[in-house]
Assembly symmetry: C2
Homo-oligomer: 298 residues x 2
């Protein structure tokens, strides 16, 4: 894969939104041997100063058109709610042949938006690097954030295969492993293993607050609900840009819980034991595969 | 509290079931200065040999009546499914005035069973030390397992207050903090902050296995579902002995998820943002209280 991406064929990369992810891309590019210019684009002068101080980028600007001009690669790292304005703002300033990608957690709307707003001469391929944490801000950026992480790549229906290979090469150069999916596959699968668990965690916390039940919660509860401490604004965007798939996933969970409830109501010990055993075995197998393949750190 | 419990007024303590929790009680008693005899009662000779090798107990027997004879304190640490047989087996052998407690995760059925099967001369007080992990077996036992952990104490309606104070003193001597609840309060609250999250985690794993969605799951999913790797047999017991409260908790979760689903369906960004913000703030406040009070380790 990697041969399609030549880091030294680039001399200018533009990172729009220099927080944890954007900053880590800047640091990772430098660590991978990129010798060109990393341009940071942001809204607040204070954030841009911090990004320069962290050496995550080499130049900064608050003007998106100026920021993307002459770049061969543009990576959108802002909240998804700002994509429309940014894509409109950069469309006329991009050089023909420029690669554009992003790091948002949903892909159908992003790929559709880029297809609608960017000129046909630009090569857009959606990305979703599964790295990061609840921490936000360039001060937490790390050159090795993508090391061994899984980066999902979601091209649109008309994206040339060579552009997909190039973007995969980019993520692989900074340490990630890549997997290509359609935007629809991506959003359906992520609804189930990421967006649904987030909704469940938020629901469990909100229920536990009533009559102060949470005061009796222990370390198991802390783990189960950890993701509920993520950014409410970011997660509102994720849910809203993946509404249909999340609704379907919530329906599946309600259905699964209703089945468990019925088995418990008729005290069906065998069915409950089988259900819990299936779950334990599936999780244990998955965890041991993760450790073994080292796709992701434990 | 502690003044009601004099560790050196005891010369014989019987631990029924010497696994992670039972073994840790044995080690913690010795570490707290207990100089009498710790008797381990178990079913398998191999487990009892391991318990002796770990120095978690001083004597072992497979005969429950012999094991509890002359003990001033008996602690039941087996799966709850064996309690009925054990209580029947020990009833005639207990000295008048002996304290009996347990470590099971549900309390209504246990307290009722003990009230029915033990003679009135014996002082039974239910306990639930909120310590342990997915690990099982005496080889993981630790003298400091209960250090700073919360031990819930659930007396029956006729338990004398002095017996409750004595059992609280016992947990406090081995490092725990105690809180007294009725068995009903205990089971209702635990259904919400422990049993319900477990059911949700198992449901999320079982859903994620279909079409291999789990292969895209990341570290957030691993945390959210960690508890689903717990013992299926133990959790079947917990659910079955707390059926009504768990069913009510599952209904609440289904209701909460249905509300979220409705808001998402009508794309109500404000309501979703508020719900996620409430959840994040409640969890962050709870986590900071846990750290500050040091009730439980982070």
């Amino acid at each position: 894969m990697r041969k399609n991406f030549e880091i030294n064929s680039l001399d200018r990369v533009s990172i729009i939104g220099v927080g944890l992810l954007g900053g880590s891309i800047g640091l990772a590019l430098r660590a991978a041997g990129f010798t060109g210019t990393r341009v940071g684009v942001g809204r607040r002068a204070s954030s841009l100063r911090k990004a320069l101080a962290c050496e995550a980028v080499d130049e900064v600007t608050r003007d998106v058109a100026a920021g993307v001009a002459r770049a061969q690669l543009v990576v959108l790292c802002t909240p998804i709610g700002r994509f429309e304005g940014l894509l409109r703002g950069m469309a006329h300033a991009l050089m023909p042949g420029t690669y554009v990608t992003d790091v948002a957690s949903t892909k159908v709307k992003v790929v559709r938006l880029a297809g609608r707003l960017l000129p046909g001469t630009v090569r857009f391929v959606g990305s979703h690097p599964m790295a990061g944490s609840e921490k936000t801000g360039v001060e937490f950026a790390r050159a090795d954030l993508f090391e061994r992480s899984l980066c999902l790549v979601a091209p649109g229906p008309k994206t040339p295969p060579a552009a997909v290979r190039w973007i995969r090469g980019f993520w692989e150069v900074i340490g990630g492993r890549t997997l290509t999916l359609t935007p629809r596959e991506h959003d359906d699968l992520l609804a189930r293993v990421s967006h649904l668990p987030h909704a469940a965690a938020a629901a469990l916390v909100n229920l536990s607050v009533r009559e102060s039940a949470i005061e009796l919660a222990g370390p198991g509860f802390a783990d189960t609900t950890r993701i509920a401490s993520g950014s409410p604004a970011m997660w509102t965007d994720i849910f809203r840009t993946n509404r249909r798939a999340v609704i379907k996933a919530v329906d599946r969970l309600i259905n699964e819980l209703s089945t468990f409830r019925r088995r418990l109501d008729r005290d069906d010990a065998d069915a409950i034991l089988k259900w819990l055993t299936a779950s334990k075995e599936a999780r244990d197998r998955w965890i041991s595969r993760r450790y073994k393949s080292k796709v992701l750190p434990p």
